[in-house]
Symmetry: C3
Subunit: 316 residues, 3 copies
Amino acid sequence: MKNFISVNDVADINALVQKAIAYKAHPLKDIALGTHKRIGLLFLNPSLRTRLSTQIAAANLGMEAIVFNMDKEGWKLELEDGAIMDGTTVEHIKDAAPILGSYFDILCVRTFPSLLNRDDDYNEVLLSRLIEYAGLPIVSLESATLHPLQSLTDIITITENFKEVRKPKIVLTWAPHIKPIPQCVSNSFAQWINAWGEADFTITHPEGYELGEQYTTGATITHNQQQALADADFVYVKNWSSYQDYGKVLTENPEWMLTNKHLSATNHAKVMHCLPVRRNVELSDEILDGPQSLVSQQGANRVWAAQAVISELLKN
Amino acid sequence: MKNFISVNDVADINALVQKAIAYKAHPLKDIALGTHKRIGLLFLNPSLRTRLSTQIAAANLGMEAIVFNMDKEGWKLELEDGAIMDGTTVEHIKDAAPILGSYFDILCVRTFPSLLNRDDDYNEVLLSRLIEYAGLPIVSLESATLHPLQSLTDIITITENFKEVRKPKIVLTWAPHIKPIPQCVSNSFAQWINAWGEADFTITHPEGYELGEQYTTGATITHNQQQALADADFVYVKNWSSYQDYGKVLTENPEWMLTNKHLSATNHAKVMHCLPVRRNVELSDEILDGPQSLVSQQGANRVWAAQAVISELLKN
Amino acid sequence: MKNFISVNDVADINALVQKAIAYKAHPLKDIALGTHKRIGLLFLNPSLRTRLSTQIAAANLGMEAIVFNMDKEGWKLELEDGAIMDGTTVEHIKDAAPILGSYFDILCVRTFPSLLNRDDDYNEVLLSRLIEYAGLPIVSLESATLHPLQSLTDIITITENFKEVRKPKIVLTWAPHIKPIPQCVSNSFAQWINAWGEADFTITHPEGYELGEQYTTGATITHNQQQALADADFVYVKNWSSYQDYGKVLTENPEWMLTNKHLSATNHAKVMHCLPVRRNVELSDEILDGPQSLVSQQGANRVWAAQAVISELLKN
């Protein structure tokens, strides 16, 4: 693995999952691997779980982690080639990247989409420029379109909770929210579950919320949530804004909020969410406080996903 | 000790003070105690001394400390049960707490009161929810109503500066300020001095500034500052807003600002303040720059107070 | 070396440069030097390279570095003696400094000029008060008037890139910018090159941009950029606001922007800039992306400059 930007960087998903599960059992078994190695965590947007879990993962591998909140402690980066920088951007990624590359052994970065211009967001300019100019392994801590550490965590959690020989039925369901939310977590979950190939995978959402086909091809897609949920083993709940009518909120229909009533047709489904979750908007209290919720386990597993990825990058 | 929220968590104040004084003499004597243990420092409000001293205390015990400024790097937490989260709060404490609990061995948190609703503030909902849901030892780095690490520091400093066999006379005096200030430091100092039981303790303030009786019972209370100061060995200077007329500034009477003139009736009293102090508003330059001030010693002692507390929690 | 505020703190510039170059070859050779020592990095203004490079330098020497963003995580400091603190400042430097001094072994601080009042800025009150009250070695991470770690980096980079026996011709040229910029980097570069004494040094800028003579004496000064650039071996490009008409932008004349055309009269000059650089405003893309640019090397060398300085201070 050279970078960790999407599932395409992973040669063997199950091997990476097992590596993470092994770290969960023995967090410090590779503490010598990263001695005197340095990892930079560059945040262009806020983060709780991702920041902490990546710092902890790095520490478990003996690395020194340095966090940098570019939006608050730094300044605005220019991404466009040939720009005449007489506006609000203070430094070009072409100038900042090689220096960050000289300071660290691995560089992690979080950025969000604007949700204003789909082409700009889906081109992932920041990440591709970093890879081009920084000259060291880049890890996405969530980008404009994907959140691969979250998706790896999700497959780890599904693997821990499904011990049958058949394929599990996994449903990704849209949920209401009060404001426009990126498609990243949903895109990435779809991309990983499809690449994994070990599930019967259905995506359900209201009309107009179709995700990009580059991620969803392979899944069953339906606007009928109840039909989708039938016999589900795992229900992944997530809001996203429209990809077609880019960044728009088309409905806040509360019937799509997951409640115990919705779970009745499932196969005692476990319920997943990447957090933070808007209680009683996306998901009901009764589910989050009940025995079918996996959200805390997902949050805790973020450490082991990050540790497996960093470990892979260190070995190269 | 299971948590460190108030003096009620401490079985033996003097033993904890002596533990801190021993660390001051030999900061690194227990550096193996916290190896591969992790402490989280969660700030919902800004901090200078508390943040730095706690980081240093943790390092002296061999722990890894991770600081997280929730207000700036994170998002607003929901504390109310059953809330329909369609407003400004982004994550419920019930969802965030177990994950923080899984990431750390000890979790420290700073929060401030709103000074708008006394019941809300004095219920200390954030701390009690963290204790309920995070499942690990919680340390208050100042809460809505108390500041126990400061009070422990204060008793350490008093112990270092009073070598007579009799009880010292300690006076907590209100001082003017330009804006509404929490009652935390004053509540906590009163609670600790009363629980300690080794002082003749007087509290003095203008009418209307009575602190909660749950903290002050045991102290002599008077509105006559000069009378209170007579024969004092230690004068603790602090502003607070009204507890009765909650959060209000009732007077800025500059006569209450402590000057050398006020000290003349004392027993060469040492003067204490938790810092930050508004010079020439709360306390005069002549005192702060003079030989009777203990404020720098107090600030430096913050490290040893934190180290003693973390050490106690690690031993459990 | 007791503090590191300006070139005047350095007994032997070349020895310090060689120390840095030795660390570049063997970053961890003195990792035992700072064991259980603690360095504080106090930022009153934002920083990217300086913050990261100093943290890394400290880690290479085995020190624990604690970063503190005073402007965002702390509060506003009062610097004036005798101030009645009933305004926006929350803590006096006289009270904060001794406590920071008790927490750390070395204290680094970054602050910027106001560009509103020249006397205030050029008095460097914050730094001198810290030195007076904190009681430990102080390192400037850029101050109101100077940026000594940058200048040390610059001489390291020049030393690495000039192997002839004659003195190199070094030109500091003003460049356009869209807003008022401090004189720090330019003042400091001039001060260091003059103190170094191993270059033929020319400063060129439009009329009205004369830097303070306390820094420039010894250099040739001209308003004719093309004449200045003739036969230059190194061209240091930097914008600064007026020192005479303090803090003002007198011209944005784009002819002063350095392009390949400007380089034709030089001796295949290497081009330097401290970064961040406004591309196509201060310096053209063709230069920054071409073989004559040293900016990435300068940025990377920041680590070794900081490491040499911290190492010197630790030895005392």
